[in-house]
Symmetry: C2
Subunit: 207 residues, 2 copies
Amino acid sequence: MHEGEAGLRERKKRRTREQIAAAALELFSARGYHATTVADIAAAAEVSERTVFSYFPSKEDVLFADHLSLEQGLAEALDGRPPGTPALDVLREFVVENLSRFDEQARIRWQIVRGDELLLAHQRARQAALGELIARAIAADLGERPDDLRPQLVTAAVIAAFTATYEHRFRARSRTASRAQAVAVVDEAIEFLRGGLDAIRAYPRPY
Amino acid sequence: MHEGEAGLRERKKRRTREQIAAAALELFSARGYHATTVADIAAAAEVSERTVFSYFPSKEDVLFADHLSLEQGLAEALDGRPPGTPALDVLREFVVENLSRFDEQARIRWQIVRGDELLLAHQRARQAALGELIARAIAADLGERPDDLRPQLVTAAVIAAFTATYEHRFRARSRTASRAQAVAVVDEAIEFLRGGLDAIRAYPRPY
DNA sequence: ATGCAAAGTTGCGTTTACTGCAAGCTTTCG
DNA sequence: CGAAAGCTTGCAGTAAACGCAACTTTGCAT
């Protein structure tokens, strides 16, 4: 298992996974999510229906296939930050750096997700998963537990900022100016958080 | 159709609805959500399986049957506030007033929901529905659109505060002191929000 | 009160997501 | 090369959810 070279097996698996995800995205985009059956996806990706479920636990997970790498990237950025660096700073940088990853594929996914209550719920669940990572880091900064109030508040606001930036970018009419706009949105969100944290820093903890 | 008196039809419908919800909650609590089929619920409530689906669009909606009234209550409180009253004040009062509604039934539901990723996602979706109401009110306060950044940020934080309070109450060891604790949590959350809002009040809006 | 219309209930059939199992094929490695 | 491990697939089965048509109950007007 030499790390550098991926075996044939590994490569095939990755390719199949991508085929399934790509075929699914195309079909969802063309016919809509609900009008596309798993059988359709399997046929388009030239695998059996059963195989689709061996790669993805559910149909919804096919749509959100690459959220995993985003999650891993964020985890690394947060866990690997130099001691003393505030989590908020890492988050700001991470969001700004990953703006370019909100590319064409993400735009298509957004078109599919935005209209569907069920898919929006699933997306929120994904965001909540990110939230747990963030809460852990913020809690460490504050010397509290991840499920205490302050980490939860800050985390929720961070997610909201993330989401707002994300949606903002897809709503933006002028594509060229949108990156600067997005950074401004992020900065304002961070400002909001700092203000809020300052306001409760001296607050007693009666619970 | 004299408003004051509910006809036999209406009363029967309400009773059936409650029977289904109650039977379901009991079964979910005893055997777990996934181990309980809709057929089980129908049998316990003494209606046909098909009827369950005529009352509730999905199995999950049976579990969250009474979220609707909470939603309506909040909508009334927000829409009916005297002009000039900040939405944050209404929210604080609403949360504190409704603490007592987090009663035995809600505690059981929490036990069912807490362990299941799917149900947690559904609950988050419900919370997001509340969020839209809140965002509208906050946006009106700020003179912005509901999907602008600031309303979204404040809304997310409000939801987080709501959730933290909710969970806090069910985690609380000492039942007697928990109400005072909960109020303290709410107050700190509101303080956080005010601090954040102050911090960005003078902020330019470059987008 | 009686009969008609509207509303509610039910059974039946179907689709679709998803799971377990066992048999067959492919890659890997000794 | 040949055994072992890993993948893919078909098959059978479960459960949620929907549409439809028949049947029952309720409300209402005469």
